[in-house]
Symmetry: C2
Subunit: 752 residues, 2 copies
């Protein structure tokens, strides 16, 4: 099947130029000297030996930063005096080669006064806790409240309490962090080329580092080797450091991290500890729920705020609960800092809520899917946060999933297998999904996007958008938006890489907002051009009631009344008109009360349903995912192959979260600093066939009815697998990952 992605050829042939492939004349390299302790004060930095090394140009410290090293509680480009985790940057060595910089970095001698470290988030808010930042250890606390929880529990026949724990995992982009900066002393302009999900954040941080207006820094997106929520703060560090060196040396500078450096200093998905208390009756009706979630934010704040809030909002899953009381709390520690990782908090709470549903069903002896159907949100229901849910398509997703899974037949086949096998057992698990699109009411920062299109005299089109392509296909998405709106062939549509020199900030490519926001802005621009062309069509066809397709425009009720699109484009240009339009998409104002935790939490919601069939080896603890059925309502598939690719990639990532991935952190030090010990799924760990099913129930908001998919694709994978494991062998895993020891030794036993 033809693939519409324009970057495919270069990527599959290995010819794509990534940021680390960039070589500029006179370019130097810089390496970071990192803190070796989780908490302390820098007493002195002796750079003399390093500066005497071959090729070394200069060693920089925080005193060399012309602007500011950081905003309060943000990670500093270089630490002034205090280090807060093992990985904090203390000095920066610039040399002619990367190897020379690395060698010299080892010779920089830093003397610390060690301070007590706060490593356990459970004690972060104790009265006598060590303060990670002077402003206190609380990052934020968010609640969702509805009804009367105590009354709800009082009415409940059954009350169940469970603790769920999720691990610290990492983005593991194939490409590590890298940035090239080039400061021009004659214009004061710094050009940064880097792979990033939020070019404007890089611009802001670099301009703060250099102490210049934001527009003196121009960030140009490089080809990116994935993001998954990373390639943000860590790229800001790499970029600011490269810019700092370039600023002082008047030569371009590259900073590129090894895998070890990337794992040591880079953000991780927030590990959480959640306590659920749920009251229910014999029919499985959820009468009350109390949830307490604690997130370890690590040493700096990053996007912990919106992650914390999303967890409070989504903790109960896509279900009706009349009485609820959820509090989500995030704290600073002297551990490696946390950030969003494909899910912005959802994968953690989806694991909890979907595990809990299976546990309730087991308690009642009820089919777990039946329990979900009895409680799941339907059109017009009030959510736990008091939003009247519209366009709820969860039921459609469940039906589509059931149709593919053929549950009764499959259960019979599994039962037969299990009867015939002693050491291996098969199981089937389910997990539903709801997820708020974009930042929502709890969001911080820009939740808007602009997009521009320009139809050229020959009928080709340029598109500019400020939302970064992070490998997910955002470029193909906007091409398709214009293609479908104007009927112009894809091969005549070109998308510019994001360059902060043009449009304004559209926020990062996270939170499943790319399609809705970037696509939405470009769609508005395309609609405005179509409106103008429709005016020219009216002069030629006598009607505006027309369709744009296949480079033609024809009357809807008489397709023989038609005109080539190029004729209308010529008409416009001959009339001194332009076909250049700037579209803007903003989230509508939210009706949400932060104090009560009640209101319309997200712009819109997406839904999904999944089933996993697994085989568990009872001797080794090995779990094999044999079949995976993922249904997602994508609203409108702008590119069906891209949609399926997103789903398959999300499932692969979810398998890692379920079964193998965990950063092994001890006393603030990561022990598995490379991929031989931090285990991500390989092709062999992923089912041969992942059944990716896209429902297309149009959104009222997104471009051409499209909905977001990036994060939903992975959010409910782990609980489906965990539920299948339990179904196979009766092992209920409440702390991820369900690795070999876990399966063999049981819950909680694997923890040191």
């Amino acid at each position: 099947m033809a693939n519409n992605r324009k970057d495919v050829l270069a990527k599959v042939t290995g010819k794509a130029l990534y940021a680390n492939d960039i070589r500029l004349p006179g370019m130097v390299y810089a390496k970071v000297v990192r803190s070796t302790i989780p908490s302390g004060r820098i007493v002195s930095i002796d750079t003399s030996e390093a500066e005497a090394m071959p090729g070394v140009l200069r060693v920089f410290t925080a005193a060399d930063v012309p602007g500011i090293t950081n905003q309060p509680t943000d990670r500093p480009v270089l630490c002034w005096d205090r280090v807060r985790y093992i990985g904090d940057g203390v000095a920066l060595v610039a040399a002619e080669t990367n190897q020379q910089a690395a060698e010299a970095a080892k010779r920089v001698k830093v003397t610390y006064e060690e301070l007590p470290a706060l490593l356990d988030p459970e004690h972060a808010l104790d009265e006598d806790a060590v303060l990670v930042h002077d402003s206190g250890n609380m990052i934020c606390r968010w609640k969702t409240q509805r009804g009367d929880v105590e009354a709800g529990f009082a009415q409940s026949k059954y009350i169940m309490e469970r603790d769920y724990v999720t691990p610290r995992v990492q983005h593991v982009c194939i490409e590590t962090e890298v940035a090239v900066a080039n400061y021009d002393p004659f214009t004061g302009e710094t050009i940064v080329q880097c792979p990033v999900n939020s070019p404007f954040v890089i611009r802001k941080v670099v301009s703060e580092t250099l102490g210049c207006p934001q527009t003196d820094v121009r960030v140009q997106l490089a080809t990116i080797g994935a993001s998954f929520g990373g390639k943000n703060y860590d790229i800001a560090m790499a970029s600011s450091r490269a810019a700092l060196v370039s600023y002082h040396l008047h030569r371009p500078c590259k900073v590129v991290l090894t895998r070890e450096e990337s794992i040591m200093e880079g953000t991780k998905r927030h590990p959480i500890h959640a306590h659920y208390k749920v009251g229910f009756d014999d029919e499985g009706r959820l009468l009350a729920m109390q949830v307490r979630i604690l997130l370890d934010g690590g040493a700096y704040k990053s996007k912990t705020f919106p992650v914390t809030t999303r967890m409070a909002i989504e903790a109960a899953g896509p279900y009706r609960v009349e009485n609820i009381d959820t509090i989500s709390t995030s704290v600073f520690t002297n551990n490696v800092y946390s950030d969003a990782l494909r899910g912005f908090g959802s994968p953690q709470v989806d694991f909890c809520s979907e595990s809990l549903m299976d546990e309730i069903a087991a308690h009642l002896g009820m089919d777990p899917l039946e329990l979900r159907k009895r409680n799941m949100l339907r059109e017009g229901d009030q959510s736990v946060f008091g939003q009247t849910m519209k366009n709820v398509t969860l039921e459609d997703c469940v039906s589509a999933m059931e149709e593919v899974v053929q549950i009764e037949d499959r259960r019979a086949r599994i039962a037969a297998y299990n009867a015939a096998h002693t050491h291996t057992k098969k199981g089937l698990g389910f997990a539903l999904l709801h997820r708020g699109e974009s930042f929502g009411a709890a969001g911080q920062g820009i939740d808007t996007a602009s997009g521009m299109i320009a139809v050229q005299p020959d009928g080709s089109v340029t598109i500019a958008s400020s939302i970064a392509e992070v490998g997910q296909g955002g470029t193909t998405m906007v091409v398709n938006v214009v293609h479908e709106t104007l009927g112009i062939p894809r091969e005549k549509i070109k998308v510019n890489r994001v360059d902060t020199g043009y449009l304004t900030d559209a926020g990062p490519t996270v939170a499943t907002r790319g399609t809705v926001f970037s696509g939405g802005a470009v769609w508005k621009a395309a609609l405005s051009v179509r409106e103008k062309l429709a005016g020219y069509a009216e002069k030629r066809l006598g009607t505006r009631d027309v369709t744009f397709a296949n480079n033609e425009v024809y009357e809807n009720s008489n397709w023989k009344n038609r005109v080539p699109l190029q004729t209308l484009i010529d008409d416009a240009f001959n009339n001194s008109d332009h076909l250049n339009s700037l579209g803007y998409f903003a989230a509508p104002p939210f009706n949400y009360d932060r104090n009560t935790g009640v209101g319309d939490a997200y712009l819109s919601w997406v839904y999904g349903a999944a089933a996993a069939e697994v085989t568990v080896d009872l001797c080794t603890g090995a779990v094999s995912v044999d079949d995976y059925i993922a249904v997602h309502d994508v609203g409108h598939a702008l590119d069906i192959e891209e949609v399926k690719g997103q789903i398959r990639g999300g499932v692969a990532m979810g398998i890692g979260y379920a079964l193998t991935e965990e950063v092994d952190l001890s006393q603030g030090r990561i022990r598995n600093l490379n991929l031989e010990s931090y285990i991500v799924p390989t092709a062999l760990d992923v089912p041969d066939q992942i059944q990716a099913i896209a429902l297309e129930i149009p959104s009222a908001i997104g471009p051409l009815g499209a909905k977001g998919l990036g994060e939903p694709a992975t959010c409910n994978v782990a609980p489906a697998i965990i539920n299948a494991i339990d179904n196979a062998c009766g092992k209920r895993v409440r702390d991820l990952p369900a690795d070999l020891e876990h399966i063999v030794l049981g819950h909680g036993m694997k923890k040191s």
Copy 2:
């Protein structure tokens, strides 16, 4: 005085990176093999010896062009079979180094069948004339007609007939033509970096050469070492040739011309022969005028059409003539081809009309300035093309000029000098100026512009415009437009280099259209942002009646009621609003009848007046310009230093046109191929002081009232000097330049 130009530091220190400074990894070089005869057929091309030379990669001919070599009567990237002037490209040699390519180019053996050449434009339309192009030798003919010329002549007491001849001169940019192209076989995209006045023309020609959509070619403006109307078709050739090599070799390619190559192949200002017949009475009233102008367009058409039409419209000068009949005709010849050169035809006809005014005055014994005042256009007058002239500021310009010149005192001083000197004589000359802005009714191509601004969260601003900075200060101009409109300091405003990947075509930076069009589009964008910010101001100040200045907004009637601009910017972003706007400026529809030559010829008109004081050495023929007073109504000086710089540069260029410059063409071959024989003024040839006076009578059209100045600055310089020479020593020069031989030997004697 502080200079607001942002490129000044890099340029004066020699650090600015021009296109020839660009080095890309793996870059190859290409040299053109040019026709050695003015007209002929290519019989064969033997590349074997060249291809065996060291470093040579391949020799290309027209057969290697994947798209088309040219549009009809446009210059071909490489000639198929027919060559039409000495300089036409026949083959292209690609090698590892520029020197290797140049050496090998000499070894390519081209066998021609010579054809008769048409070298004299006076015979181009003879019935038996050799055809330069099969479609005929006429490029275009344009007329301006009003009243009854025969009746006018019948009423006239005096009838005078004069022939004026202007030379072929060249742009002589310090930087010769250069382009770097990089074709990416994986994306099909070609990036061209070049110094050019019309990036979108380059894109069009390169895409035609490669046979791809326009958006597969991205042209990025390099720092430019001047244009003056050049850096257009010649850059299209360099770019297409570089792209052709890159397309085939999959390596970046640079084409850079030596000065000799640049002079040999590059466009020149159209040489003309004009015949004027004028009828007038004792009061100096102009009763009838008949003008016939012949332009030598050379071998290809370039922008000869709009140049021909402008000459017909402006031929009579800024004067009332009731009865007129002007025909302007341009023809193809086998000479080097012609194009606009800072004036688009105006310098030629301004020389004619302003010389004629002095000749009439001399005939009547009238003061030449008095004659002009009696005839010059005033508010509400009908022009010779029937346009009712509004906002005519010629009288203001003349008054301002008289005030500075102090005519009576100066004449007394000159008379005293002349009485005291035998071999040197001083004289004073005048020339008035009117000039239509932009392409006008006769224009071809895009006469519109779009411009975008984006105010960033920290109050800095980016500007994107599609009109190229050609060294004239267009960048500073748009910065000032935004600065004055929004009250944001200049140092926080950044302008992107033109990149065809963003906005649509805004036409070339020619015809004095940069400020009005690009500035106008950016102004509209800025006004739209100001309107939005005024809304936020109203919420805080209680009124929209506010001024934006110095990063603040205050109530017009109570300046103490004020708010920092940053507060309003914060308000906008906090409200999910954007401060990103796309402005569009188009010339209004013209009411002009091409058949009768009557109507509103140009969007708007600018005016000026000049006086030159010269000393003529009667023995050597040397003319020294001692003082030059140039008055221009610029509407609103967006940057007074830039305005004065434009005027001074224009005067220097006019001195060359008046006194020294002429391409010495014989049998289609240029004999003065370098600057030791083609003489441009040096610093020593320019008066120490050029008195540049800018009147500011606001335009109703341009941004903040600004008017264009680029070409007017040079258009009336030559006649002011020529009139001063006549005033000094009675030598009436009717064919430029007034070089040494001319002054000593007299009119017509210097021609071979």
